[in-house]
């Protein structure tokens, strides 16, 4: 349905806007505070798919999560998965699956799309040599490609394999849940992408 058509890539293309896309309750609260306190125009994206996902939030009510700082959710030395929004949870599931095959994935939740924390991403890719960038947005024209391009240009000599991309099929998100499941990328797609890089 409409609510799973991810449009953050269009927003990110407009210069001057700050684009935030948290994947956890803690980050949603902390980043919303940061967004309100910022004097810049901010588009704060919330995925409807994540509304039902529960998570721990600090007792201290005034914890602010910094804008423009990615978060390494899971450490690993064999492959880097960069993701945001619902794709972060898929990435973590994929990482668990790959761990069973002896491949340790590092999962980075970007949290802020603009400005982009490439330093965290590049540090990870230089370590692992392999990278998958994942989001739920339709892959064509997705902001995923911005990160892929930057990784290739800035860490070329550290890449042991091409950079893989994950996104939804090139179309409008279907209404029936069964079709939407096929349309959207999932943990299995991310795991397969990692496998293809080894």
């Amino acid at each position: 349905g409409q609510h799973s058509q991810s449009l953050e890539s269009i927003f990110a293309h407009l210069p001057g806007l700050i684009i935030i896309y948290p994947s956890t309750a803690r980050d949603a609260k902390g980043l919303l505070k940061a967004a309100i306190r910022s004097d810049d125009p901010v588009l704060f994206c919330e995925s409807q798919a994540l509304y039902a996902v529960r998570g721990e939030v600090p007792d201290d009510g005034d914890v602010v999560v910094p804008i423009g700082k990615a978060h390494v959710v899971r450490e690993g030395a064999d492959a880097t998965i960069v993701a945001w929004g619902p794709a972060v949870l898929d990435a973590l599931s994929a990482a668990d699956e790959m761990a069973g095959d002896g491949v340790e994935c590092e999962v980075i939740d970007l949290r802020t799309l603009v400005p982009l924390d490439m330093e965290t991403v590049l540090t990870s890719v230089r370590k692992t040599g392999r990278c998958v960038v994942a989001a739920q947005a339709v892959l064509v024209g997705s902001y995923v490609n911005e990160i892929v391009a930057r990784v290739v240009n800035e860490a070329f000599d550290d890449l042991d394999a091409p950079v893989a991309r994950i996104g939804a099929a090139d179309g409008i998100s279907p209404q029936p849940e069964s079709l939407e499941k096929v349309y959207l990328p999932n943990a299995g797609d991310i795991a397969a992408a990692v496998r293809g890089l080894i």
Binding site: P15, G16, L17, I18, S38, D39, D40, G68, V114, P115, L116, M118, G129, E146, R150, N153, E154, F156, D157, D158, L159, D160, A161, G196
Partner: protein, 404 residues
């Protein structure tokens, strides 16, 4: 500090405008918003307002002048202030800086400088197989860092791509086979190594052996010695070889696989062992020397070889070589042909052996001689004929009895 007033750029494509009229004169006080001058653009006329306050100090673009956009047309400031050198008033950039630009980060990625691109040697396409080497950038970098030669590595990545783990596995394997504490080879050894590797890898070798009955010559040698002659069995072997080369000059010639260089003059190389290796002094025009002559020449050359005083002329130009290991008690060996030659004769020890003579067995002084030959020029039949030419001369002691 006087500030410049610049010709504006009214349209995206406008390059220059003409000043039509000045509404303020030098010395007039100017407030923000006052109309300063009027310009004619490519599309229409336009009034230019003042954004600065102060006194108009100087007009640089007079009425009627056409100036490029962004050029300084006038100066505004406090009365009496000195106007800076025109050269210092560099054109301002066209961008309008918004107050919050510092916090909203522009998404500009640092571009890779040309010296950074391709900093690591690209192995793709550099090899004679004609196929690009499939290797990941990371593996290329690691190979360069660790001194591993990528084409020697097998790739385990998708499509046989060489990836980092393959390079690291190769260095582990190298380290395992390498022995500790290597030292450089001496110059002469390196030369030997180079020349023999060249022969071994470019000349198609084959070998053929004959057993020669040297009994007659051993007896002759004994007789000569008792007469005070220094001539040895080796001299007879050299003489027989030279004569066989005269008889079968193709063995004395050489080829590169495409061209034949016929050689009639025999310049015999004699392998001499020296402490650090091997030298091959050359007896030039050996076919002109008698057995005694050969003996004297070799004696001189061997002496010079052992004292390290051989000149370059004496060490090059051989057409065929004899290598004698008879003094070492060896039964048989094959030698490696020297570069630019087509054969080498390996002479082993003379040893008493039982042999069939007529219907009986006798003890004879037997010696094996092995010819290694260049199969591009010397076929098996020619090689065998050559050896037999030597053998027949050596086994018929009468040959040499008349030559000494």
């Amino acid at each position: 500090m006087p500030r410049p007033i610049r010709m504006p750029q009214p349209g995206q494509m406008t390059e220059e405008c003409t000043v039509l009229e000045w509404f303020k004169q030098v010395g007039d006080v100017v407030s923000k918003g006052d109309v300063l001058f009027e310009i004619e653009t490519d599309k229409s006329n336009m009034e230019v307002e003042a954004f600065d306050e102060g006194t108009l100090l100087r007009i640089d673009a007079a009425v009627g002048s056409t100036v490029p956009v962004d050029t300084v047309v006038a100066w505004i400031g406090q009365p009496g202030e000195a106007i800076p050198d025109q050269a210092a008033a560099a054109p301002a950039s066209a961008a309008i800086v918004s107050p919050s630009a510092g916090t909203a980060q522009t998404a500009r990625s640092p571009s890779l400088s040309p010296s950074q691109i391709g900093a690591y040697p690209s192995h793709a396409g550099a090899y004679s197989t004609g196929r690009r080497l499939a290797i990941s950038p990371r593996a290329s970098r690691v190979a360069a860092e660790l001194g591993v030669d990528p084409p020697s590595v097998t790739g385990s990545g998708p499509g046989g791509r060489i990836v980092e783990r393959d390079i690291r596995a190769a260095t582990k394997a190298d380290a395992a086979t390498r022995t500790e504490g290597g030292e450089p080879l001496s110059r002469i050894r390196q030369v030997i190594a180079r020349r023999l590797t060249e022969s071994a890898t470019t000349i198609p070798h084959y070998t053929v052996t004959v057993a020669i009955d040297m009994t007659g010559l051993v007896d002759l040698r004994r007789d000569l010695k008792s007469q005070g002659s220094p001539i040895t069995v080796t001299d007879f072997i050299h003489a027989a070889t030279v004569q066989a080369l005269v008889e079968l000059p193709l063995v004395n010639s050489r080829t590169d696989g495409q061209t034949l260089w016929r050689r009639e003059q025999v310049h015999l190389g004699v392998a001499v062992s020296i402490p650090d290796g091997l030298l091959v002094p050359v007896i030039r025009d050996a076919q002109t020397l008698s057995v005694a002559g050969l003996h004297d020449r070799i004696a001189t050359l061997v002496e010079a070889a052992r004292s390290g005083s051989l000149g370059p002329d004496e060490l090059s130009g051989s057409t065929f070589t004899v290598s004698n290991m008879g003094m070492y008690g060896v039964e048989q060996f094959s030698a490696i042909i020297n570069p630019d030659e087509s054969g080498i004769l390996a002479v082993s020890s003379i040893r008493p052996e039982p042999a069939v003579i007529g219907d009986g067995i006798a003890i004879r002084q037997m010696m094996r001689a092995t010819l290694s030959a260049d199969h591009r020029l010397v076929d098996g039949e020619l090689g065998a004929r050559f050896l037999n030419a030597i053998r027949s001369r050596l086994e018929d002691a009468g040959t040499f009895r008349t030559q000494v």
